[in-house]
């Protein structure tokens, strides 16, 4: 039973982080019908920025919650700038081009960013500082430490919080309303005076912030990062988004959780080698059986 619970928590942690990345995919797709394949790199850049920021701030003597909060903020801000720049350079000029062009541009941007970090930082694995295992005030978690480590609890709670904030943004703010309007009918949205470029920019910022937080959290959880982590995580999150129905935010979260659990249980009961296999088998299955995804409304004809 304990083993099962352990796997459950592991799956939830993993799924939560996938969800943070998948939301960026799905929101961008909802707005401009583009699969932003460079989104995984934004997550990787978030992790790298988090590493640099945590080394810098801890050298200033910061620890505990203040350090974690600052690191997340810096990583989110920096990644948001990358996301925004990516949109302006790689996608905005292609807004009126055929659908294939921005997709190719996305793949190019992904390769570029990966190698940019590889060349300017390092091709090696880097040790990510231990930001979350010894946070003050979390000692009450000791009794369940054999099931869920403080880092895992931290990740799960933070993902839940972030999802709540995101729901608030989408449902209750003007920006959210404009985003939903644009995703339903971009033309009409503009005719009611909504500035499409502004909405797109905000969507990229929002998605990048979520991905960067995911990057910092995964750094805390796995304790090592390199310039390649964005590739597989991006593919998995994309799988999650498709699984749930690309374009649907609740779908992305659902898809991410299913993927997280599937991977965790596969690794636990069979073998860790099959983790990735299961993820992509799921992708293939859903594309065959229900191409629109679990909660998707339209057939994903635009991919």
């Amino acid at each position: 039973m304990n083993f099962f619970l352990e796997l459950l928590v592991g799956g939830l942690t993993k799924g939560g982080i996938y969800a943070l990345i998948a939301l960026g995919y799905t929101m961008v797709y909802g707005i401009i019908a583009l699969i932003n394949f460079a989104h995984g790199e934004i997550y990787m850049i978030g992790a790298f920025t988090g590493l640099i920021a945590s080394l810098f701030f801890s050298s200033l003597g910061l620890t505990g919650w203040a350090l974690l909060a600052l690191v997340i903020m810096v990583a989110a801000l920096w990644a948001a700038m990358y996301g925004l720049t990516l949109e302006k350079i790689a996608y905005a000029p292609l807004r009126k081009a055929s659908r294939l062009s921005p997709l190719i541009s996305a793949i190019g941007a992904s390769i570029f960013l990966q190698n940019f970090v590889l060349l300017t930082q390092t091709p090696n694995y880097l040790l990510f500082p231990d930001l979350a295992s010894d946070l003050p005030g979390l000692s009450f978690l000791k009794p369940i430490a054999h099931l869920a480590s403080p880092i895992q609890v931290c990740v799960i709670v933070m993902v839940a919080l972030i999802l709540a904030v995101l729901t608030f943004i989408l449902k209750k703010t003007w920006t959210g309303l404009a985003m939903r309007a644009v995703s339903q009918d971009p033309l009409m949205a503009q005719l009611t005076g909504i500035n499409l470029n502004k909405v797109i920019a905000r969507t990229f910022i929002l998605g990048s912030v979520l991905a960067a937080i995911g990057g910092v959290l995964i750094g805390c959880a796995t304790r090592q990062i390199d310039s390649n982590i964005g590739f597989l995580a991006g593919l998995k999150a994309f799988t999650a988004a498709v699984l749930g129905g690309v374009g649907s935010a609740p779908g992305a979260v659902l898809g991410a959780l299913i993927l997280g659990f599937a991977e965790s249980f596969t690794a636990g009961y069979f073998s860790g080698d099959f983790e990735d296999v299961v993820a992509f088998v799921l992708l293939t299955l859903i594309l065959t059986i229900k191409p629109s995804g679990l909660l998707g409304q339209k057939i994903a004809q635009k991919v």
Binding site: T175, L177, G193
Partner: protein, 268 residues
């Protein structure tokens, strides 16, 4: 019955000069020059395929005219060239429109549809909303109040939380006009507002058009096939045929115009 108040004098609020729109081999609009008087209700009539909707599309930035000029004077003394406006530019300058085949945000509620209409007038950003900034909150509260007032006035009562797609046809049509009104436009463009409405609903529509015109400093341009509606509400009528302007004048004059009778009302 003739419209009560005569249009105010002065420069036309909107005018086109030799406006042409070509789609491949099809000349949808051919050198159309017309003027819309400030504060008037102007009708565009013509048989199907005459270019009426294309004219609307050019005015609202949906189509880029092949040649010609669109001049818009939001206020006396202010002149804007609308010829190659972007989609949201026309909207922000005060042109709001409806569509022949209703274009609502179907997955949004009635209230949200109207709030979107108000959107162009708001300045509050995301940051203000997240930090609970006072100015933003006040602005949002005001917008909500405006939207609710407008909806109550248009008879949406307790339907404000219903998804737009679940409304019956007549109300969907009315919601689209309400959304356009929410933007407090200078010019309201209605594309076949009476199409598909029953007799009672059409009467309500005429009432609504007269009301919004007399209340706001509003100019209305409408495309309509329902001749009794056109004749009863409009100050001026422009008739199109095969993309050409064949006649302009008062409803009474248009009814007597031979070319219009031939082209549109049918030859005897």
């Amino acid at each position: 019955m003739l419209p009560s108040d005569a249009p105010t004098a002065g420069n036309p609020i909107l005018s086109t000069h030799n406006l042409s729109m070509r789609f491949g081999g099809l000349l949808a609009l051919s050198e159309v020059s017309l003027a819309v008087k400030r504060g008037s209700i102007t009708a565009i009539i013509g048989p199907n395929g005459a270019g009426k909707t294309t004219l609307f599309n050019c005015l609202t930035g949906l189509n880029n005219p092949t040649s010609g000029l669109i001049t818009y004077r939001p206020q006396e003394g202010q002149t804007v060239n609308l010829t190659h406006g972007s989609l949201d530019k026309a909207a922000r300058l005060g042109l709001a429109r409806t569509f022949q085949n209703i274009r609502l945000f179907n997955e949004l509620t009635v209230l949200e549809n109207v709030l979107i209409g108000l959107h162009s007038r708001l300045k509050a950003g995301l940051w203000g909303a997240l930090t609970g900034n006072k100015k933003t909150r006040a602005e949002e509260a005001l917008a909500l109040e405006l939207a609710n007032d407008l909806l109550q006035k248009q008879g949406f009562g307790d339907l404000t939380k219903v998804l737009a797609k679940n409304l019956p046809y007549g109300l969907r049509k009315r919601l689209e006009i309400t959304r356009a009104l929410a933007a407090q436009p200078t010019i309201l463009l209605l594309d076949e507002p009476a199409a598909g409405l029953n007799g009672g609903e059409a009467q309500d529509l005429i009432k609504l058009i007269r009301e919004v015109k007399s209340e706001g400093n509003l100019t209305i341009i409408l495309i309509e096939h329902d001749m009794s509606l056109v004749m009863s509400v409009s100050d001026e009528v422009h008739a199109l045929e095969y993309g050409r302007l064949i006649a302009s004048g008062t409803p009474a004059a248009i009814q007597r115009d031979e070319r219009v009778i031939k082209a549109y009302l049918g030859e005897e």
